[in-house]
């Protein structure tokens, strides 16, 4: 299992030796994020979509909107669900099959970043309180894996939400009950989804004693532990996830937060400047 975590000793030792000299295997500095490209409205039939590349990592995010029932415990809130699929085209080691714990973790980390930044006001997704709400399905497809699916996924998800549109429903929708006639696509007036935050995540890997940002696949294979920190537009922390079988000291965590807060505004401006 998890065969993609296997790496040769020679590569492991090489990366560790480089780290001691302050270098990384792909020539980056410890604080350097790989090149990012962002494409929007990539999928014609999705209500919102994006394609993000982070180095050789590539993720396509798509939003589908449906009218459904709210959760019993939150009758006055809309629903957002995030799902991630690690497509076998993404890496020779990915096996076809149902989502494993790695893809569920990506989906959950991205989901929490979105949920706790209040990017979307879920109360505004309510159509009839307690009965009908907009359900937003956000699906991430990992098409190429070269490490750090968390940051690329978060960015793709936020960008897809930024160009999501909701259909305008008739004002008497509540009275229509089950009599509502599904409209013809061309007749729908679309309203952009209101976005009130630009959360970005910064993943920091601890390799030996070094903290490096945006680990690539080989760095992910040898890291002791990693910390994904999601930062909102006010530069506050809104979610965190520690991963990997190693540990962090308090000092490491404090340094990692400083790093994330230093890098987040640059990533957020990348999100905002792409139309």
């Amino acid at each position: 299992m998890d065969s993609y975590k296997i790496i040769s000793d020679i590569e492991r030792n090489h990366i560790l030796a480089l780290t001691k000299k302050g270098l990384r295997i792909d020539g980056r500095g410890f604080k350097d994020v790989r090149d990012i490209t962002i494409e929007t409205s990539y999928i014609p039939k999705a209500e919102g979509s994006s394609k993000v590349t982070l180095g050789n990592t590539m993720i396509v995010a798509g939003v589908k909107v449906a009218i459904g029932s709210p959760y019993a415990d939150t009758p006055d809130s809309g629903v957002i669900t995030v799902n991630a699929e690690l497509s076998p085209i993404a890496s020779p080691e990915f096996e076809p099959g149902p989502p494993d714990e790695n893809s569920v973790e990506v989906a959950r980390v991205v989901d929490r970043g979105i949920r706790h930044s209040n990017i979307v006001d879920k109360d505004k997704l309510v159509i009839i309180p307690g009965e009908k709400v907009f359900v937003i399905f956000l699906d991430l497809y990992v098409l190429s894996y070269d490490g750090n699916l968390y940051d690329a996924g978060e960015m793709a998800a936020v960008k897809a939400l930024m160009n999501t549109k909701l259909p305008k429903l008739p004002p008497n929708f509540a009275e229509l009950k089950g009599e509502w006639i599904t409209p013809v696509k061309e007749d729908i007036e679309w309203i952009p989804l209101e976005i009130s935050d630009y959360p970005v995540s910064v993943t920091i890997a601890k390799i030996g004693d070094a903290l490096v940002v945006d680990p690539n696949a080989n760095e992910e294979r040898i890291l002791d532990s990693r910390l994904t920190i999601t930062i909102n537009a006010k530069n506050e922390i809104c979610s965190m996830q520690k991963g990997g079988a190693g540990s962090f000291t308090f000092e490491d965590i404090s340094n990692a937060i400083d790093l994330a807060q230093e890098l987040a505004p640059k990533l957020q401006s990348r999100l905002k400047e792409t139309k």
């Binding site: 999928i43 014609p44 009218i67 799902n83 076998p88 399905f137 699906d139 061309e186």
Partner: protein, 280 residues
């Protein structure tokens, strides 16, 4: 609850033979193919055919896992066709549907005749297809992408496999059905061929046609396939053209640098000589 439905025009083809998307009966939708798009695959291709967006990735020939599927005489070809949840109007469940399982098999049997499987005994060739956007004829776009990905992986092939769907709308035989024609038309006939020897490797049919109409349809399909085949071949050439141009550019660049250095050297030597002269 579905958000919207489509308006279905009363006629899918008008008196002048113009279809719902303004095409003539024998006209293909816009098509583009690119190979070598996925960095982690041995071979890959991206195809846009009308509104379809399809990515195909090939791994192999590689070690067979699980071992019990190994064939001691030939390569085992495994194909997986999946549609993204957001590729269609109403969100599709991410779990594989019966349709996806069947299409994976149909696509495999369309491609396998082109692969020299006996060249690679005891190995596995994996073909993974991800449909990102669907617009009628995804299996044909998938076959076109997958055969390019096999070629990009350097796997020995008899020929590329090229596919298109033909059908009948409003009593007329038409080429390359779009989503609406596929759903509302009278007949749908996806077909794939190895164009060099006119060998048919995929044939499915749904609807109603006479034999004469059927023969007309497959001839029209062949007419489309020849055009698609050319676009596929150009996609393969384009990759190597890019590489050779890249090499040429870097050679010119190197030559220029060398020339600059020689220039500097000459200047330095000249200056030294000049200094020498002034000493005299």
């Amino acid at each position: 609850m579905a958000l919207y439905k489509y308006s279905i025009p009363s006629k899918l083809i008008d008196e002048n033979g113009i279809r719902v998307d303004k095409r003539k009966y024998n006209e293909l939708r816009p098509l583009s193919c690119k190979i070598g798009v996925l960095p982690k695959c041995d071979g890959s291709a991206y195809v846009e055919m009308g509104g379809n967006k399809v990515l195909a990735g090939v791994f192999g020939p590689r070690k067979v896992a699980p071992r019990h599927i190994m064939n001691p005489n030939e390569a085992v070809v495994r194909t997986m066709y999946r549609m993204a949840t957001f590729s269609v109007d109403e969100r599709k469940s991410p779990a594989p549907s019966r349709r996806e399982v069947e299409l994976s098999m149909v696509i495999r049997t369309a491609l396998e005749p082109a692969v020299f499987v006996s060249y690679y005994p005891k190995t596995l060739i994996d073909i993974f297809i991800q449909v990102l956007a669907a617009d009628g004829g995804t299996r044909c776009a998938s076959i076109n992408a997958a055969s390019l990905a096999l070629a990009d992986a350097g796997i020995a092939l008899k020929d590329l496999v090229t596919a298109v769907a033909v059908g009948k709308v409003g009593g007329k035989i038409v080429l390359d059905l779009c989503d609406l024609e596929d759903k509302e038309g009278d007949a749908d006939l996806p077909m794939a061929m190895m164009p060099q020897n006119n060998e048919v490797t995929l044939l499915q049919f749904d609807g109603n046609m006479s034999k004469a109409e059927f023969m007309e349809a497959i001839n029209l399909g062949m007419f489309g396939i020849k055009q698609i085949y050319k676009v596929q071949q150009d996609a393969i050439r384009a990759k190597f053209k890019d590489i050779s141009e890249g090499v040429a550019e870097s050679e010119i660049e190197e030559e220029r640098e060398l020339e600059n250095e020689r220039e500097k050297e000459r200047a330095r030597v000249g200056k030294r000589e000049g200094e020498g002269e002034s000493d005299d």
